[in-house]
Symmetry: C2
Subunit: 241 residues, 2 copies
DNA sequence: CGATGCGTTGATAACTTTCAAATTTAGTGG
DNA sequence: CCACTAAATTTGAAAGTTATCAACGCATCG
């Protein structure tokens, strides 16, 4: 019995919907694409078929016990998926930002719940509509498959992180976040320390201390708690193992 | 810098092939299946199209730097995927037994290497052939997609394990292994303690001690080190969190 | 029988959590 | 814009867990 504090604070914000979910009875015909079709057919399709929803910071997008009828693509903001364990600990499944798709990995029920970390816009599409598309458009099938494989690889990297020490986990996390803003060394974290802790399987105190020590080691700068500047990727990579 | 001992012992057995890999230039026409087709089209196809390979205990099936041209389905025996980290630690990606498919999650290169833990038979199929099938048979596409989703869920369970204490990890691992032999409380472990340790992100000593303590707590019996009998699933589940 | 690999057990050190409190930041109302 | 409260983050000290180092037992195999 160890670990996560979790639910030291449970904000309970109001779920809000700006655009109603449009059921998708008629699947629009999407042009077939040859083998090797460019990435993006799916995204284009979601834009065409999906309904845009807006969630304020902290709002629930779906609960883990709900039937997983929809798939979501983040347009702006940031979404976290999470699961509350029987003993109250919280495990964060992942953080999803612009372009990321949430809900692919689930079976009949969602295994995780999803919440907006910041005010977020999300495209919603019926899973059944997506499945219908998969049946008639091989390009979409391939793209969806590729997306899922990518998710698998992300998860494997995650597993690699979780077998390591606290310092390696935090360093790896920062590098992962940095990848989302290529070219810049500035990371604006949309999530709290508690979120990071629950993502990495550490306590909030350990995350905080580790960040402080990375700063002392001149690997990063921390102008504000939510903003981190990479000073030495090499040092971080070294710590990442 | 912590953790895994890894590579305390590196057996280097001889790679062996019994049946040559058959390149699959001509994709056999597979009957189309309606939506909701039964699970198994893919397996059937692999039996038809795949080449059977035999690997002795310890033989390498593929290396992580090789191009990932093939996908494998375990027919008998047990396969482990693993990765050696820069500092020599080893992370095990997973254990694959009868019916499991290895290699789906990989991109251009394998991210992991794969080895036979016990003498194993494996069906091998070209990834390109599989992709071609996906393009022309929606049922296969759906099944492959479902398989990948299942792998994702397994991995998520794994992540849930890795954020927990040593006792919870080992208990969870045993329950996971028990699921593969439904109806029986006897688990015959094909893998060593070192394998288990590298799978769970623990040391071999911690795994050993934890198993001993589970035995003391009357949750399991350990007639031989590779055989474990579940005495109280309830107790194990409780420990699993 | 001696070597070798694997698993177990013991003692100590290192790391992470837990509990507690101080400090900083963010949000709200005047 | 400032004051005030609540929330988030950081820091400190002690306790608990896991890794590390070392030795031992046990089986297999030549």
């Amino acid at each position: 019995m160890l670990t996560q504090t979790a639910i030291r604070s449970v904000a309970m914000p109001r779920p809000v919907v700006s655009t109603p979910v449009v059921p998708m009875p008629n699947v629009p015909q999407v042009a077939k694409h040859a083998v090797g079709a460019a990435n993006g057919v799916l995204e284009e399709t979601m834009r065409l078929m999906g309904a845009t929803m807006t969630y304020p910071r902290g709002a629930e997008i779906f609960g883990e016990d709900e039937p997983s009828d929809y798939v979501y693509q983040v347009v702006s903001g940031c979404v976290r998926t999470y699961k509350i364990l029987s003993d109250g600990r919280r495990q964060i499944g992942g953080f999803y930002q612009r372009g990321d798709i949430v809900g692919l990995q689930f079976a009949e029920d969602y295994v995780f719940s999803a919440e907006a970390i910041a005010d977020s816009k999300v495209l919603v599409i019926k899973r059944s509509a997506l499945n219908a598309l998969v049946d008639r458009d091989a390009a979409i099938a391939r793209e969806l498959f590729a997306l899922t494989s990518r998710e698998l690889r992300r998860m494997q990297k995650r597993i690699l992180l979780l077998i390591k020490s606290a310092q390696e986990r935090v360093a790896g996390f920062l590098l992962e976040m940095a990848e989302r803003a290529p070219g810049s060394n500035v990371i604006d974290l949309p999530m709290s320390r508690q979120d990071i802790a629950d993502y990495l399987g550490l306590t909030i105190e350990t995350v905080s201390r580790t960040i402080t020590s990375l700063e002392s080691a001149a690997a990063i700068e921390v102008p504000t708690s939510r903003r981190i500047v990479l000073r030495s990727r090499a040092a971080l990579s070294r710590m990442n193992g």
